[in-house]
């Protein structure tokens, strides 16, 4: 019976508590899903690749994209300068090719920008020490995007396939977000939600009634054993 009790508690924790506890560890909230990848742009020497975007929220803290590093040959620095609308560099992040696997999804994380919501930013990439034989390649997407994509200062079609990240606004923000979205998604499929909850409630009711009946049976037997006559 100890095992039954232990497993009941464990499963309830797994389903109800663990998501909440793990949510505390989420320090980066993505802006959405990464757009599908199409072709890629090589980057080396004096070449620069830049992408402008509007930050959706405050606390902008990362710019992530998929990078090709054929045979993991590149071991040189890839620099991302994040600039504001006036072209002023506000953050710089350097990632070395050692830590970029071929096709790796790399998040250029930086100290969050508190009042970023609604502001335009430009992420500019360069790999000054790389050469054409060991260059990295940044993946594009054909999905329409409201932002300017430039290679060596020239505007090109499409955009980089990227996601921006934001730090949580406060300690409880993730908790609320996780549980609210969970319940919303569950009840959006209302037919399933009704059947599922009915089964759960029905099963629990059966267990409770069984317990009450067993308790009454025990009481009857106990009283009968002591010479009391049970009257219904």
């Amino acid at each position: 019976m100890k095992l039954v009790y232990f497993t009941k508690v464990l499963i309830l924790c797994l389903v109800v508590l663990i998501p909440g506890v793990l949510a505390i560890g989420i320090r980066k909230l993505p802006s959405g899903f990464q757009p599908p990848l199409s072709d890629s742009q090589m980057i080396y020497g004096i070449e620069t690749v830049s992408q402008s975007f509007i930050a959706q929220k405050n606390q902008l803290s990362g710019f992530a994209l998929t990078i090709k590093n054929p045979n993991s040959i590149n071991k040189k620095d890839l620099v991302m300068n994040l600039m504001d609308e006036s072209g002023q560099i506000v953050r710089t992040v350097t990632v070395n090719g050692w830590s970029i696997p071929d096709g790796g999804y790399i998040n250029f994380s930086f100290a969050s920008i508190p009042d970023s919501a609604g502001k335009k930013f430009i992420a500019q990439f360069s790999a000054p020490t790389a050469i054409d034989t060991d260059s990295l390649e940044l993946y594009h997407s054909n999905k329409p995007f409201d932002g300017t994509y430039k290679v060596n200062g020239q505007t090109e079609n499409g955009s980089l396939s990227f996601i921006t990240y934001y730090a949580p606004q406060n300690f409880f923000a993730n908790e609320i977000l996780i549980y609210r979205n969970w319940m919303w998604k569950f009840f959006m499929d209302w037919q399933f939600a009704i059947i599922y909850l009915t089964l759960l409630v029905g099963g629990s009711a059966f267990l409770i009634i069984s317990k009450i009946k067993a308790h009454n049976r025990f009481a009857k037997t106990f009283l009968a054993g002591r010479g009391f006559k049970h009257e219904d």
Partner: protein, 408 residues
Amino acid sequence: MKLKNNWYLKFIVLAVLLRMLVMPFFFHPDIKTYSFQASFLQKGVWNIYSYLPEHKNELPLKEEFVYFPLTYFTLGTYQIIALPFLGPNFSNWLANANASAVDMIGVYRYLFILKLPYLVLDILTAIFLAKIVGDEAVKRKVFLYWLFNPFSIIIIYVFSNVDIFPVFLSVLSLYFTRKNKWWLAGLMLGLGAGFKAYPLLFVPFLFLMAPKLKDKILVLITSLLPFLLIITPFFKTPGFQNSTLDSGLTTRIISNGISIGFGEILFPGIILLAIIYLLALNRKLGIKELIHFCLAAIIAIFAMIHFHIQWLLWPIPFIVLILANNLRWLWNFVILGILAISIPFLYDDSAMTVSTLSVINPLFENLPTPFKVVQRVYDPFILQSILHSLFFGAGILMIWQLLHEDKA
């Protein structure tokens, strides 16, 4: 044991409720991949092994079908039956290769319905496991140990692979062995191998245990023939040879070894299995010894190879039967279980840990995996190797104890 008996019914209801809490809210990508592949049965595809490579360019999910044929036909048939309940967007969900698939409305319904056959087999496994033992008190223990051990709940409903099919058939095989119905016992192993090859490991034990020559021949025929009949139509298909025969247990057991020169290699897994089979040859096997030998064979495999977390379901029925009779093994099995489960937890694969919560919210995919956390302070591959070495040591000791107890 009668289901009308309120005691059994009460615990079945509680077990179902607990499983229902897990079923819709945990996701492993395998269930979507093999369900997508099994969905081709409704379109009249009989040879999935040739169909997938031929249509690779036009399919959203490029993976090959790595399971044996019964998995395809069973899951495909179930999908045809369940289709009216899955809703019109189910096929879109299956074909959605993007990360957004976990966030689609209806994903809880899909996971719940796709895992329903596992629930049925899981409960049936408990019932037949209990029927294997005679004494009512032990029967109840077996029933509770299977239904309420957290390992099997997590392996079946969080990682949701198809291992419950061969596990259930292996338990049925034990049940028929207990009833001295040798041909049925063999047949269940043969059918189980139609899903995953591992029940074939038990055929030599069953062969040795069968009392008469006629029974021994029946065991061989009824186990090997169905298995061969299941795989023969696909045997010449390169997709079957490359993806199914060359994956999983079938090749991992010969993936590492000690070279003895001139191209010859000694495979530790096979060496250990040979020792176990030869020991069985020199013993008089009863049902208790059969359980011990089957468990020893599984532990020998796990000790020697890189295994998937789903495979850890294979030994649980045997462990349950042993523990119900003798609880002194409990801590040995708990230590072995924790070691075994922590090895795949450390694989560099978010689907083993944080991503299982991605249907609750895709944000969980952003959490670092245990591999990445360990990487900050230590080499996770070395830690995995240490854990596997510990598992190896504990496993070898456990095999010795299991087989030594039989001798005693």
